[in-house]
Symmetry: C2
Subunit: 209 residues, 2 copies
Amino acid sequence: MTTEHLPEAGPASTRGRPRDTTRDRALMEATLAVLQSHGYSGLTTAAVAKEAGVSTATLYRRWRSKEHLVVGAARTWAEELGPDHDTGSLRGDLAALLHDKAHALEGPSGRLLRAVLGEAAHNRALAEVLFTDFVVPLQGRVSALLERAARRGEIDPVEEPEVVGELVIGPMVSHTYLIPHTPGPGPGPGPQMADKLLPYLLRALGART
Amino acid sequence: MTTEHLPEAGPASTRGRPRDTTRDRALMEATLAVLQSHGYSGLTTAAVAKEAGVSTATLYRRWRSKEHLVVGAARTWAEELGPDHDTGSLRGDLAALLHDKAHALEGPSGRLLRAVLGEAAHNRALAEVLFTDFVVPLQGRVSALLERAARRGEIDPVEEPEVVGELVIGPMVSHTYLIPHTPGPGPGPGPQMADKLLPYLLRALGART
């Protein structure tokens, strides 16, 4: 995979007076808000500038096109999975990852992902940033926890950790995006599905109990 | 789940002279094409009418709003999973379902689903038709194949077949929508992932070999 067509993630210029990070943050929050309500096609830089309370000139000094702005937002709201950590068991590691994923999908990164998934079908720069910033970190945590489990003797070494990655990311995504949920008390649909998936995943991996 | 807010799927009127089904088909194909290139927010009935080669008056006689048009398209392009069929084994039934799903995701239904997934986050009618026409048929096939496998003694009865459904639908969706694929010879990414998932799913179900 190349990144040659990828716009820079950063602002158009870093020279001159110090960056106003409050404005950058406001612009990224505004981009997410406009994406959620209008989608990629319906997003205009004017609408984002208005939502953020800045002039379009200010926006263009930081992001030189609509595409740069949205790719920048995708990076800003990249999957907030949190760091990999060793809980001491495959069950604990997998449960932590599933719950981190559920949390991420219900937060800004999940809302951003959902809002731009359609556009990424024919927007290579966006598809690449989704892969790099959303899929790769999850696949990295999956590989790390599988290696630890194999070292502990809980499972045999896994030859294709990316298939296990799909088994973790996929059901959480489809459950969050495809099943209509009625808000209510108690844990949301993501954490509930995380708990239900866990025993299936442990058996799929041939975990020795 | 209620359907009280769901627009009718059919045309605005079925009275008068016989329907021109060629035009209906052209309008549904045009809706999918415009959705793919412009997303829900960027779709206008004028653009769909132009793409289909009909007047906007003709379009409005059949679909009385943009929302009706898109919900109608979602139903027209509902998951083409094909019928459930008994291959004689859990392995065969699951493989057939995974490959049918891979095929559907790469066809019009998969492209439609991807194009409207973002909009469905805040459009209840669309979310409901996606659930009814995309999720429910797959869950039905999963339940049927699990029951047959339990009757054959291949697995214990499954208490929550919808969790298994997520394990089938989810990785296929995430793999198709989130991993950038370079077109090439041989089977596409969906069928390849279907084959890789199969042994994990059989183990997850505790299939007796």
